[in-house]
């Protein structure tokens, strides 16, 4: 069928525009998307109009189409090498679509074009990490539903169809509404991660590290590099290093070899991660794709001087990557309760030279030839991570007694028990008071954690006020509010007062899952500090003393309404923390977008909540309606049959004329129910003939004589109507199915 419909061309152009816009949005941003959409709509429309005017057999555009397709094929290989398979595929799809456009003479090719456009939308969705992509989804759903509708009805009505716009909207709304319901209802399975790792925009090299890695590779023993480093560090302490062995160490500054924790300022420029922002921009600094919420460790600190934390693990062991992959731990660590978590990290803002990874990292796919690992097992990149870097990792999440453990290996360093010389005695008193009722280290640690979570408040402002130092006493006994560093430091010290080895961990909380994209958004404010404590010779227990954070979860949960709810709450709190911004056009637009985004998210959250709470009812009602819909044509006629008999029995006629009329009406109703409509003007004789054809046992002469006598005779004589009663009973006894069969059979004859 030749494509000549103006409406189809118009709507198809819009579909192409939306698909192009979506892809450009995923790669280049909103402005490119808008511009690209407009250009794509215009170009598609123009090409289709030109192609529509030409004859397929002698189309002048065939050669152009072939040249475009050939260019796409030629470019495909260099593009794979330069930009990776996904982008190369996308550009190839673009060329293929353009080539196809020049040949879109008929509806078959139009449908192929729609499929190609949909593939482009899929490719864009793979790349996009923004919830704004959903707007392109909605636009695509609306335009494709109307395009498909017109592509169906225009050829059937010779391009003169009149489709009510309200109905068009209704069809599109139905499509979107049902898609949302399916989206909310369909369970998510843990990701498979078959095949390729995420493509990174940057590649890291460090020749010095590579040389070191090669040298160490030669003398490599079976031991894990991090373990060797830690053992070296322990040996250093044993041989009387600067760090004292005693629990109550001096207040001396650690040696210069220690790495000093200077708060988040060093890890991340929290004051202004977005160079274009005002006072503070809570910009997204990374996206994490994972099946569960994770805490990504960046640094581990073991020594506290009363105000600041220091890390003793300064020596790095270099590891060479084999085709971008390195195994960090030998396999066989898995326990019955452990889970191997595969996740991908997409860096959106420049970071330090650490590689955030969840404990215990087993395997890393990183865009470099070499990485380094420190004594605490933390990973370091050859250079500071730049925006656009992407890597994947596998970590072992160990679960015990309902809690997660970072590691099971332990080397007893004095620093893990070290307390500042001027530690406030009230801290130990408080810790004793809280932990006293419990016997095990595990229980004591949990009690201390819960105490901090329940008795202290979170205060965003403290982040800006007290960077780089932690006034513990003030926090614990006076203000009783602070940010994560305060909570983590307090817990670590309280644990140490109870003889439990502990350390402070900084990194990122990837617990804020965007309900639209499924990615865990890491904002600037998700830069976080928490605690690990070695308890009962089991392992390093992860502790989250800050009530504001939920902590990493072990359960494999799909996106629940509660999580969505908490996501919104977090967004609102972050907004609040950011404070008022200046009244500029950009700020207003940003605020409007934020509000709209929150509104959509809220709606989605509550839809999901309703669904989660009512799904058994909804499923039951759905099943009932479906059953009713299937059974309706069978049940209702049977029910009507019974009703007809009941109605007939309920009537008490005064005269024979009335009675015969009732019988005939009832017979009529039974026949009508079985699909036979008595034509107007059919005489009693003809009706009886038809019934005879249906092989209903009757005495036509008697029946017709009786009818005529009662209705047309002047004599008003009461008659025995048992013949009519028998006729009705015979029809009724046949049942609906049999009567229907006979009616159909007679009609066919």
């Amino acid at each position: 069928m030749k494509l000549t419909s103006v409406k189809v061309v118009y709507w198809y152009s819009l579909v192409s525009g939306v698909a192009t816009g979506a892809v450009l949005f995923a790669y280049l941003g909103i402005m490119a998307a808008l511009l690209g959409s407009i250009v794509a709509v215009g170009v598609t429309h123009l090409i289709l109009v030109l192609v529509g005017r030409s004859e397929e057999e002698n189309s002048p555009y065939l050669k152009i189409s072939e040249q475009i397709a050939a260019t796409g094929i030629i470019l495909f290989l260099p593009l794979i090498i330069l930009y990776g398979p996904l982008l190369a595929l996308l550009i190839f799809i673009g060329f293929a679509h353009l080539a196809l456009l020049f040949q879109t003479h008929d509806y078959r090719r139009l449908y192929i074009g729609l499929a190609v456009g949909f593939t482009a939308l899929i490719t864009g969705a793979v790349e996009s990490k923004s919830g704004l992509y959903l707007i392109f989804f909605l636009a695509y759903a609306v335009t494709i539903s109307i395009t498909l509708g017109y592509a169906y009805i225009e050829p059937l009505s010779n391009n003169r169809s009149r489709w009510n716009p309200l109905d068009q909207l209704r069809a599109a709304s139905l499509l979107i509404g049902l898609a949302i319901v399916i989206y909310l209802a369909v369970p998510r399975f843990p990701a498979g991660f078959l095949g390729a790792t995420p493509g990174s925009d940057h590649f890291y090299e460090n020749q010095e590290w590579e040389l070191e890695a090669e040298q160490s590779h030669g003398k490599e023993d079976a031991k894990n590099p991090a373990e060797s480093l830690l053992q070296d560090l322990a040996d250093k302490f044993d041989t009387g290093g600067s760090q004292g062995k005693s629990e109550q160490s001096s207040n001396n500054r650690p040696s210069d070899s220690s790495f000093r924790y200077r708060g988040f300022e060093h890890e991340l420029d929290i004051e202004n991660p977005d160079e274009h922002g005002d006072r503070f921009s809570n910009a997204i600094i990374a996206h994490v794709r994972a099946d569960r919420p994770l805490y990504l460790r960046a640094r581990i600190f073991d020594r506290f001087d009363g105000l600041r934390w220091y890390s003793s693990a300064q020596r790095l062991d270099k590891l060479q990557l084999d085709r971008g992959e390195v195994k960090l731990k030998p396999s066989g660590l898995e326990q019955s309760d452990s889970v191997t978590e595969h996740y991908e990290v997409f860096v959106e803002r420049d970071l330090g030279n650490y590689i955030p990874a969840a404990a215990v990292p087993l395997k890393l796919n990183f865009p470099s030839t070499v990485i380094a690992v420190d004594a605490f097992g933390q990973l370091h990149a050859p250079g500071a991570l730049k925006s656009g870097t992407a890597y994947a990792a596998e970590s072992l999440r160990i679960r015990h007694k309902g809690r997660t453990f970072a590691e099971t290996d332990y080397v007893d360093l004095p620093n893990f028990r070290q307390l500042p010389a001027d530690t406030d005695p009230r801290i130990k008193q408080l810790a004793n008071q809280v932990a006293e009722p419990y016997d095990t280290q595990f229980a004591k640690a949990i009690a201390l954690e819960q105490h901090l979570r329940s008795h202290y408040d979170y205060d965003f402002e403290s982040i800006f006020k007290s960077q780089q130092h932690t006034p513990l006493s003030q926090f614990l006994f006076e203000t009783k509010q602070g940010h994560c560093e305060y909570f983590a430091s307090a817990l670590a010290i309280m644990l140490r007062t109870q003889g439990i080895p502990s350390r402070l961990v900084t990194g990122f909380s990837a617990t804020n899952q965007n309900p639209m994209t499924g990615y865990y958004d890491i904002h600037a404010l998700d830069g976080h500090a928490w605690v690990e404590a070695y308890v009962d010779d089991i392992g390093w227990l992860e502790l989250e003393p800050t009530a504001y954070y939920d902590g990493p979860a072990m359960d494999n949960e799909t996106l629940s309404a509660e999580q969505i709810d908490s996501y919104i709450e977090r967004q609102l709190r972050m907004q609040e923390a950011m404070g008022e911004s200046e009244l500029t056009l950009e700020a207003v637009l940003s605020a409007v977008w934020q509000e709209a985004y929150l509104l959509v998210t809220w709606t989605a959250a509550y839809l999901k909540l309703i669904f989660l709470n009512t799904w058994p009812w909804l499923t039951g009602i759905g099943a009932m309606l479906l059953g009713l819909w299937i059974l309706w044509p069978h049940l209702v006629p049977r029910w009507r049959t019974i009703q007809i008999k009941r109605r007939l029995n309920a009537i008490h006629s005064e005269t024979s004329a009335e009675a015969i009329s009732c019988y005939l009406q009832a017979i009529d109703d039974l026949l009508w129910n079985a699909g036979y409509r008595r034509p107007v003007g059919l005489t009693i004789e003809q009706l009886l003939d038809r019934l005879d054809e249906m092989e209903i046992p009757l005495q036509p002469e008697k029946l017709s004589r009786q009818f005529n006598h009662i209705n047309y005779s002047d004599k008003n004589v009461d008659q025995n109507l048992s013949n009519y009663a028998q006729l009705f009973d015979a029809l009724y006894a046949l049942g609906y199915s049999e009567l229907k069969k006979r009616v159909h059979y007679t009609r066919a004859c």
Binding site: E57, A125, A171, I176, V186, R289
Partner: protein, 408 residues
């Protein structure tokens, strides 16, 4: 051939047909949905789960909505006017629905059109009437009581059809009647004329036959004033010439005579010619008779100036070729039965050499049908001109002969 295919950038038609048969839009969407779901699962991408949901929604709506659209619909059919083979007919569909319905396709098997009638309704409110015209190419009596209702609403992806039983509509398609300009006149056996004479005009030496209602165009000279006064309306006098021919048409109803298929067969052509000749004769004030034998002997006398020939046409509409008597026998018997007839028409296949023996004062219009041309319509079948052999006027007819020019 192969090169041509490559150059024209075309797939072989059988490949295209196979692809069209195997790869429906429905299947393609399923494949896209599966592909999308696989990537969504493999990479754990929520946006792709969203696209998968969109595909599933599209498929689910495409499966459910057409079924819902086809529920609670009743259709009644009615014909507008009489149907005549070879002419356009008009059919009215009255569609009643329980609510508003969209994008309904009606496929109605109309055997008298030689195919099916397809109709499409974009929107249908509670009751909607739809007029459709079609070309009628087969005479006969037909019962219409079923049609197919389909819908692919709203996206045209999945088509759901339902067989709908309607009230039985009896359709009578009358045989094709062509407007003949003339028919041959009686000839004398030894005359040179081929019978190509004009019929004398009305009036003159005519004998009064009857009165009839005045119609526009009648001469005022023929108004029967006394009868008009009596009947309180204008009536005119009808005259019958004593020398006006009396037409007798015989139809060979033997199955052997019926060569060809459907409406293009010798029997159908014969019926059409017979009906047209009687129509002409009646219009021109000639008495005519029709004689057929299809198991039973049927003869019908049509008086001159009979305007209502519906019963005759209805009889011809349902006439079947199941007779046993040969054409020559039928002509001979008919000539005996109707001695007043002097113009006897018979139909004969070209290869049928059996001719009736008629007295010399009777003119035999022998319509000789070329069976080959009906059996093999694509063959070039040259036809000879009409000619005369004694009192027999021979008119050769093949499948391509324009009937209105038959006697010219």
């Amino acid at each position: 051939m192969k090169e041509q295919r490559l150059l024209s950038n075309k797939l072989p038609p059988e490949t295209i047909a196979w692809l069209q048969r195997r790869f429906s839009l429905h299947l393609i969407i399923w494949l896209l949905c599966l592909g999308c779901f696989f990537v969504a699962w493999n990479r754990g991408l929520a946006l792709l789960y969203g696209l998968t949901s969109l595909c599933l929604s599209l498929l689910l709506i495409s499966q459910l909505m057409p079924r819902l659209q086809l529920r609670g619909i009743g259709i009644e059919r009615s014909m507008v006017g009489d149907l005549t083979a070879g002419n356009d007919g008009e059919l009215v569909y009255r569609i009643s629905t329980e609510g508003r319905r969209y994008h309904l396709e009606i496929t109605d098997q109309l055997p008298f059109t030689g195919g099916e009638q397809k109709l499409f309704i974009t929107q249908c409110d509670k009751t909607t009437s739809l007029h459709t015209t079609f070309y009628c190419n087969r005479r006969g009596r037909f019962l219409l009581d079923q049609l197919t209702l389909s819908s692919s609403y709203p996206f045209g992806i999945v088509r759901h059809s339902r067989q709908l039983t309607t009230d039985t509509l009896e359709v009578l398609v009358l045989p094709q009647i062509v407007n003949l300009n003339r028919i041959p006149l009686p000839v004398i056996a030894d005359a040179n004329s081929d019978g190509d004479l004009n019929i004398p005009q009305q009036g003159g030496q005519d004998e009064f036959a009857a009165v009839r209602e005045y119609t526009q165009g009648d001469s005022l000279r023929h108004v029967h004033w006394r009868a008009s006064a009596r009947q309180q309306q204008l009536v005119v006098k009808e005259y019958e010439r004593s020398d006006r021919p009396v037409l007798l048409v015989t139809l060979d109803c033997r199955p052997a005579f019926n060569q060809g298929e459907g409406s293009r067969s010798t029997f159908e052509y014969a019926i059409s010619i017979a009906a047209s000749m009687i129509h002409y004769a009646s219009r021109e004030g000639m008495q005519s008779m029709l004689v057929v034998e299809n198991g039973d002997w049927h003869d019908t006398v049509i008086p001159a100036y009979t305007s209502d020939l519906y019963d005759l046409y209805a009889f011809l509409a349902t006439l079947e070729s199941n007779g046993s008597q040969s054409c020559s026998d039928l002509i001979e018997q008919a000539a005996i039965r109707f001695p007043q007839a002097n113009l006897i028409t018979g139909f004969r296949l070209q290869n049928d050499s059996q001719l009736p023996v008629l007295p010399p004062y009777l003119t035999h219009i022998d319509i000789e049908m070329d069976a080959e041309s009906f059996l093999f319509p694509l063959r070039n079948n040259p036809t000879s001109d009409h000619h005369r052999e004694g009192n027999r006027l021979i008119y050769p007819v093949n499948a391509l002969t324009p009937l209105q020019e038959l006697f010219q």
